[in-house]
């Protein structure tokens, strides 16, 4: 299958390992990725101005439509942002007309012919857990993972339609396909805290710390995420703010594509594992 890859603004400079690992994994499953020059999904500017957000999102949808492809994004904030715009443009004709009059200046138009998917949805629905399992050549053993769903793909569920908002399973199944065990933990569906980082650092870190401590205390070796911002919060920010002199934080975090890629036989460099900031990410020890 072919999709337009929507990386979002944070991957190229802040989490390039997400791009590296997702290309490796998608290549294995024959998911062809088209790179278009997208713009920001509008999620950050939505705090200041709604029209800026909608037009930003809509332009991306229109660009993908022009290329005749649906969008696949590895970031959950981008996913939620694009899906919300998709919904609003579907239900409000006046808004769609307004947006299209702006897009028309560039020769673009949004007609809602193609959709938006998150990377996990593509792996779960289009590839399938069974096929994922097949490609896992070195399953993990004895590895407990605290699966973190993140907020913006799960909620508001009427808009995102990603998974059951109260008892989601898709990410867990994908993680378990690698042989790892997805543990129960009470803070599982809570926010990572990143949306407040840079705005109210103390509050943001409070939320993050509570989550990570709960993950660690529930018996996980590592947290697994599938969102750029969640990884920034649990890896970069944790290392910067919560790590001790030994370089260890509360509990490290890994991107799903890195977790999966290792068990599929890719090397550390292919998956950018050396770019993850926190120590204690020796997942290789758990591979069979």
């Amino acid at each position: 299958m072919k999709v337009a890859l929507f990386q979002g603004c944070k991957i190229p400079y802040f989490v390039p390992q997400y791009e590296e690992s997702l290309r490796a994994v998608c290549g294995e499953f024959g998911i062809e990725l088209l790179d278009l020059e997208f713009n920001c999904c509008g999620y950050p500017v939505r705090n200041l101005d709604a029209h800026s957000y909608v037009i930003s999102s809509a332009r991306n949808l229109a660009l993908a439509e022009k290329a005749g492809l649906g969008i696949m994004t590895p970031c959950k904030c981008c996913y939620g942002s694009l899906k919300k715009t998709e919904q609003m443009l579907k239900e409000r004709e006046s808004l769609r007309e307004q947006v299209n009059s702006v897009l028309a200046k560039e020769g673009l138009v949004y007609q809602g012919t193609h959709g938006v998917k998150h990377l996990l949805s593509v792996l779960f629905h289009d590839v399938g857990v069974d096929r994922v399992k097949e490609r896992v050549t070195r399953p993990y053993q004895g590895l407990n993972i605290a699966v973190h769903y993140g907020c913006h793909a799960l909620r508001p569920s009427k808009v995102t339609q990603f998974d059951d908002p109260i008892a989601p399973v898709k990410f867990d199944r994908l993680v378990e396909a690698t042989g790892a065990k997805s543990i129960e933990w009470t803070s599982k569906l809570q926010c990572c805290g990143n949306p407040l980082w840079g705005k109210n650092d103390a509050l943001s870190l409070d939320l993050t710390t509570k989550k990570l401590e709960n993950a660690r205390d529930s018996g996980a070796e590592i947290v697994c995420v599938a969102c750029t911002y969640c990884q920034i919060q649990f890896d970069t920010v944790q290392q910067q703010e919560l790590a001790g002199n030994d370089g260890n934080g509360i509990i490290p975090s890994v991107l799903y594509t890195q977790l999966l890629g290792l068990s599929m036989g890719f090397g550390e460099e292919d998956l950018g594992l050396n770019r993850n900031r926190l120590k204690g990410r020796e997942l290789e020890k758990f591979l069979t």
Partner: protein, 556 residues
């Protein structure tokens, strides 16, 4: 004499200007480290760093970057073939003209013993190089009018650059054209190089009128083959050694043909001398003004490319990083590539804030760095533009002169925060606190109650008007992780989510906007997900943030 004096004057002004600019690279402060490092320390650090790089294996990097990025301009080529062709024409053509034509006494004559300005191949190539510059300038004008966002970002400096080049080139071609047709130049040359009687002069005139397009007051008769033949023989003896046919100067020849009907009048009015003054003085003006114009990039851009290539590998000294930032401001060519590819450029039209666009943000940064005192509105504008940037890195990747824009943008955000212009959400939360504090309900009642108007105002988000369905079950407040983070949430946050919904229901706009809760919302959407009435709580909070921001900025 006159041209010598004006040349030295131009060189002097240029030299002083360049010195002033280079000094500013060590004086301007960008970044929080900058205040603790003196200009002297920065100078010393740079003086140590440069030889350390050059006299090391890293010289390989410098040679590679100089060849590929300075001479061949690979970074431009990667971003746009047309832009590369345009710049190659301008830069290549102008450099060649500078060395082979303007400095022909020092370069061409030394390299080629048979050099004469009117002889091929020099005659042809001079026009070719000039034509290259003209083509480049025409492409530049075309691009500035058609490429995305270039009309927004183009300014006075860009117009000046195009105009000065155009004046130099056009006056040059016209000058050569005027000389081609000039019977006075012909006579001066005959007086100096040939010794002819009247009959011989007449035949040479006929030959030159026919073959070299000179226009005489009385048109010589060149129908007689014998006269022409004699003219040709004389030409071979006295003229041919230095003169190739003027058609080889294809652009100037075209100009000559165009002015032929008025050639005698122009010659008698000494047009050639006038054009020569315009041509040379325009060059000197360009030279004198160079450090203050875009053309400073001729020196600063190679420095930026080389310095950034070295600094990318390894850990550069803090002092040198601070100096680099100041230098980069002068390396910018205002080409607009960054703004063309900016991820948030599409938002420019909504805010009409130019500093959202990287090239304009850089200009604003120049004002900030120079220590110029900027007004509140101006700083707010730069703040908004800077924090809307998502640091996606694309501008840094396309910058043709290798400026580390990412570093500049991260730094400007820090500097603005120190000045009291932090991330707008932080600024708004503080402004709200200052403005509303924890005022009791009375203040709310002063604002016109109007639930219906509010429903209309909370516009974009679908069904933000759903707040009217709220029946105060307080589920939203109870599932909110932010509320649950505090011992006394009401004291910290001002109002709780369900109270905000209720305020809206009562039409208490200021009450709903005047609290920290809306700015401390982490957008986890638990409230909206769990609400039994379908109130889109989180979306409403987004709308309130938008409304509050406009309100606080004063742009409602």
């Amino acid at each position: 004499m006159f041209f010598s004096v004006t040349l030295y004057l131009a060189l002097l002004i240029c030299g002083i200007g360049l010195l002033y600019k280079v000094v500013s690279w060590f004086r301007y402060r960008i970044g929080r480290e900058a205040s603790s490092i003196s200009a002297g320390e920065r100078l010393v650090s740079a003086a140590k760093g440069v030889p350390a790089a050059v006299l090391s294996p890293r010289i390989g990097i410098l040679i590679k970057v100089f060849t590929l990025d300075v001479l061949l301009q690979r970074r431009i080529f990667k971003e746009s073939r047309l832009r590369w062709a345009m710049h190659m024409c301008i830069y290549g053509g102008f450099m060649l003209l500078l060395f082979m034509h303007a400095l022909d006494t020092f370069v061409s004559m030394k390299l080629f013993s048979e050099y004469h300005a009117t002889l091929n191949p020099f005659l042809f190539f001079r026009n070719l190089f000039g034509a290259m510059v003209v083509i480049g300038v025409l492409i530049a004008i075309y691009r500035r009018m058609t490429v995305k966002r270039m009309r927004i970002t183009s300014g006075g400096m860009d117009v000046y650059a195009i105009v000065i080049l155009a004046v130099i080139l056009v006056s040059g071609f016209l000058l050569e054209g005027a000389k081609i047709v000039s019977h006075e130049v012909f006579q001066d040359m005959v007086d100096e190089w040939a010794f002819l009687d009247d009959e011989e002069l007449a035949s040479l005139r006929a030959y030159w009128a026919k073959e070299f397009s000179v226009v005489f007051p009385e048109r010589p008769d060149w129908t007689d083959e014998a006269v022409l033949e004699q003219g040709r023989e004389l030409h071979e003896i006295s003229c041919a050694e230095c003169h190739s046919k003027p058609q080889w100067a294809f652009v100037s020849y075209g100009a000559a043909k165009l002015i032929t009907p008025a050639a005698v009048k122009l010659t008698n009015a000494d047009a050639a001398t006038g054009l020569r003054y315009i041509h040379i003085l325009a060059c000197f003006l360009g030279l004198a003004y160079l450090p203050f114009s875009k053309f400073l990039h001729i020196f600063a851009s190679p420095v930026s490319l080389l310095v950034n290539a070295i600094m990318k590998e390894g850990k550069p000294a803090e002092a040198n990083v601070v100096t680099r930032r100041a230098m980069e401001l002068d390396a910018c060519t205002h080409c607009g590539a960054c703004s063309e590819h900016c991820s948030v450029g599409v938002i420019y039209e909504q805010f009409l804030n130019r500093t959202i666009l990287p090239s304009e943000k850089l200009i604003a940064l120049r004002s900030l760095a120079s220590g110029k005192s900027l007004g509140d509105k101006e700083l707010q504008t730069i703040q908004e533009g800077s924090f809307i940037c998502t640091n996606c890195y694309r501008c840094t990747q396309v910058c043709p002169v290798g400026i580390n824009l990412q570093d500049l943008w991260i730094t400007i955000k820090e500097d603005l925060a120190v000045l009291g212009y932090p991330e707008p959400v932080v600024w708004a939360a503080d402004a709200v606190e200052a403005r509303y504090g924890s005022k009791p309900l009375e203040t709310g009642l002063l604002s016109p109650p109007g639930g219906i108007e509010l429903q209309k105002e909370l516009g974009v988000s679908l069904q933000a008007d759903t707040f009217s369905r709220c029946f105060e079950c307080q589920t939203c407040t109870n599932v909110c992780p932010v509320v649950n983070n505090f011992e006394n949430p009401k004291a910290t946050l001002g109002l709780l989510p369900h109270q905000i919904m209720h305020s809206l229901g009562l039409g208490l706009k200021e009450h709903a906007m005047g609290n920290r809760m809306i700015w401390d919302c982490v957008t986890c959407y638990q409230c909206q997900e769990q609400c039994p009435q379908g109130v889109q709580v989180a979306d409403v909070l987004y709308e309130l943030r938008n409304m509050s921001y406009r309100h606080l900025k004063g742009t409602e």
